[in-house]
Amino acid sequence: MEVKDASSALLSNYELLTDLKEQRKESGKNKHSSGQQNLNTITYETLKYISKTPCRHQSPEIVREFLTAMKSHKLTKAEKLQLLNHRPVTAVEIQLMVEESEERLTEEQIEALLHTVTSILPAGPEAEQKKNANSDGTMDEEDPA
C-alpha cells in the first residue's frame, strides 16, 4: 500500500458528518457487514465526536455562504476551516485560531469576523433557547408580579 498524497484535501467536520451518516445508511442495507468491527467502532466514535460540534447545524448552503463571506477577511484555508468547525464567539478564540492575529487583524476586524461567524453559522436551538431564556429572565424581573 502506498500513500500518494497525505493531504489531498481538507475536510470540514460537516463534510465528514454527512459522509459518515451516508455510510451508516448504506451499511444498514448491506448484510455483509460482519467482520467490520474496526470500521463500525471508528465511524461510531467519530460520529459521536463530530455530532457534538457546531457542524451538526450546518448545511451545504450555510457552508457556501460562510466561505463566500470569508473571502474579504483574507484568512488561510486552515484558519477558515477552524472557524467553520469551531464557531468561535469570543475575540480570544479568534486569536487562538488565526495565526499572528495581533499583526494581521485590528480590533474592528476581529469584531467583524466574529459577527460574520456568529451570524452565518447557526449556534443550534439549545443555544438560541438559552439566549431567549436569559433575556426573558431579565424581563420577568422587571415586570410587576
Binding site: E2, A6, N13, L16, H32, L39, T41, I42, N85, Q95
Partner: protein, 192 residues
Amino acid sequence: MFVLVEMVDTVRIPPWQFERKLNDSIAEELNKKLANKVVYNVGLCICLFDITKLEDAYVFPGDGASHTKDEILIGKIKGCSPEGVHVSLDFFDDILIPPESLQQPAKFDEAEQVWVWEYETEEGAHDLYMDTGEEIRFRVVDESFVDTSPTGPSSADATTSSEELPKKEAPYTLVGSISEPGLGLLSWWTSS
C-alpha cells in the same frame, strides 16, 4: 483536522466474494485494512471515502484524521497522572498535555490524582481543578508516530502472567498545550 488521503493499493478479493459487486468487495476489504488503524506519518484512518480508479493499480482517497500542528481542538479530560493531563476525542485517545504546557502555576494533587491550575487573583490563589469528563480546548503542538510493526518473536511470554502487562506503545500520539489565553477547560473561559 480531517483530511482526504490519496492511496494506491492492490486488493485481493477472496473467491467467495466474487458474486458481490466489485466496488462493494473492494470497499469492504479496504475498510477492513485501514479503518481505525494508524498509517505511519499520516494519521488515524477513519474510513474509505471513494474509489477513484480501478485498474491493475487501484487508487482511492480515504478519510483520515491527521492533526496539523498548532490546530485548536476540543476534547474531554480522560484523567490525570503525574505525566500530565490525558485527553480524548471520542475516536482518538492518545493525547497528552504535559505539566509544563498547562496554565501556570500548576500542581498535581496526589490525593485526588488531578492537576490543578493555581489561578492567581487579587484575593489570592483560586484552585481550578482539571476534572475527568470536563471539556477542554487545547492546541496541538506535536505529534509522534511509532512504528509498532512486529519485529520478531516477543521476549514477553504470554503464558506466564506477570503483574504488569507488557507496555503497548500507541502508534500515534499527540502532545497538546493549554498555556495560552482561551485554552483549558471551556468552563474557565465562558461567561455564564
